[in-house]
């Protein structure tokens, strides 16, 4: 599938916007998870600004699609996207991580548009599975007797996060119950907090592991909107299995001086700030 240039441009600009706002947010807060926030930024953009069915004016709309960011420390680009979309005032960005803020250091349901209070890695996919099941219970059935889910659930996981055993408990159960309205997106940026994924616990390649558990699995370049939109659409048309999108990404994508370094949790110095703003202009 090839998408219109106008749509792709629009998404690329939105992705730049949320990266810029994230840099400002982290600078104001003092510290933040710039690496993992930026590797997932294009996926978040594609979901929030194009693929998901949702309404920022009605955050509790029962049939909205859900975005569960299981790697909840990578909150800044999520907050930037939700603020840009209109879930809350952008004045909240400067309050990120401060006392009383709706934008907490790890995503919490205190912020409109945030579905999942994370921070404890490995749990979000189970949560997403529960939501996906709730969309199927009592739903009208198709000609094959399968429920037509009321909404879809998208869950972004870290590759390091998949060290957690609970991820695989959810993977097994989702496949068993053929929860085809559940899409897991692994932000495969090749790093976790302690270093490279392959150095910490090498369980790569990632995709065959999900496929072995009977998930419909694809790999994409996580920074190519054509590919991202393609596989999201493909998931909608592939019934009977949950969907795993292994997104090959670059930690800190968008700030060339930081790209692919293990910049996990850091302060944004004046130097980094200026460099980033220039790159994201």
């Amino acid at each position: 599938m090839v998408y219109q240039a106008e749509l792709l441009n629009d998404l690329q600009n939105k992705a730049k916007t949320i990266r810029r706002e994230s840099i400002r947010m982290i600078k104001a807060a003092g510290l933040g998870w710039v690496g993992g926030s930026f590797s997932q930024a294009d996926i978040v953009t594609a979901l929030v600004f194009h693929h998901m069915k949702h309404n920022p004016k009605d955050p509790k709309w029962a049939d909205r699609d859900r975005l569960i960011v299981s790697k909840a420390h990578c909150c800044e680009t999520v907050y930037a996207a939700l603020g840009e979309a209109g879930y809350f005032s952008k004045a909240e960005f400067d309050k990120y991580g401060k006392l009383g803020a709706i934008l907490q250091a790890h995503t919490e349901r205190t912020a409109p548009g945030v579905e999942y209070s994370g921070g404890s890695l490995g749990q979000g996919l189970s949560f997403a599975l529960g939501e996906a099941l709730s969309a199927r219970i009592g739903a009208p059935k198709d000609v094959n007797g399968r429920p037509i889910p009321r909404f879809r659930v998208f869950c972004i996981l870290g590759d390091g996060e998949c060290n957690e055993g609970q991820v695989w408990e959810a993977v097994m159960a989702a496949a068993h119950y053929k929860v085809d309205n559940l899409v897991a997106i692994v932000d495969h940026n090749k790093y976790q907090s302690g270093g490279k994924v392959v150095d910490r616990i090498d369980w790569t390649p990632v995709a065959p592991k999900f496929a072995a558990f009977n998930w419909d699995t694809v790999e994409v370049d996580g920074h190519d909107f054509n590919q991202i939109l393609s596989v999201l659409e493909r998931a909608d048309k592939t019934p009977g299995k949950p969907h795993a999108i292994i997104a090959n990404t670059i930690k800190c994508k968008g700030v060339p001086s930081l790209e692919n370094k293990n910049v996990h949790f850091c302060a944004i110095t004046d130097e980094i700030y200026q460099d980033a703003m220039k790159a994201l202009a």
Binding site: Q123, L129, L133, A170, M172, H176
Partner: protein, 323 residues
Amino acid sequence: MKQSYVRDPLGEAKPMYNAYNEAMADLFKKNDKIVLLYGDFPRGAAGEMATKEYPDRVYDVGIAEANLITVAAGLAAGGKIPFTHCHGIFAVGRAYNQIRQNVAFDKFNVKMMLLNTGMLWAFMGGSHQTIEEITALRVIPNLVLFSPADPVETKKIAQAALDHVGPVAIRVANPAVPTIYQDNFPFEVGKAVTVTEGKDATIIATGISVADALKAHDLLAKEKINVRLLDMHTLKPLDEAAIIKAAKDTGAIVTVEDTSILGGLGGAVAEVIAENYLAPVKRVGIKDRFGQSGTIDELKEVYEISASHIAAAVKAVIKRKKK
């Protein structure tokens, strides 16, 4: 002196999980938001009925307690009322962070059945006999913790759990327990039930220990020692007023539980007494030891939680009463 709503003699003995299933068979049909979740656990009558007649409202996630609890949270977020079922030892042990972070943190409307708790799951041995669940769960904010004493109370608690909007955990012992209460006994969340009235001391018991405490009451009555017996069925929120009143009215307290006295009911009562109204307290329960296989009666002896141990504790604490 036994209250009017206490059966004398005690009624039929029945496992509380059976009583829960009787209640759930009804609740499940009346409220279509209820979803039953199992961690490779026997479904009982209600679960089996639901599996046949409402298959899209029953899920088993296999031997995966962490996934069990968090899937429940997700279902609650999606508007359902999930009841999870697994061994209490593994819910609290293997899914503690999930209870704390996925359920309690956002106050999701999840009901967690903690089955086969306490020392008296006799044959199963130390790996399965919980000593820790009251202690571990008391400290989690937003959580209501129930501990039924008999089949009738179990059914009231199932209803109360459904009526409460927010996280609930219910610890249920394995063995058959005698029916203590008439059907119309006064049950209120957070309010201890007065099983017997008396002035010499108070026994505060919970769960399967209430029946043994009632036996102790009878043993003591023969020696003209008359105790008040309180059934603390709600461990969180604790009925602090009843504890303080017991200290004021009777001057001495014995707590009884089938789990650890360190931070369990005994610990909780001691906290209230220490901060509000001093009286001697003796905690009967598991004294910082793991369990082991045996028969119920053998374990009650070995772990010193039998009726005669409770009676002895009452006599000891009376000796320490302020003159």
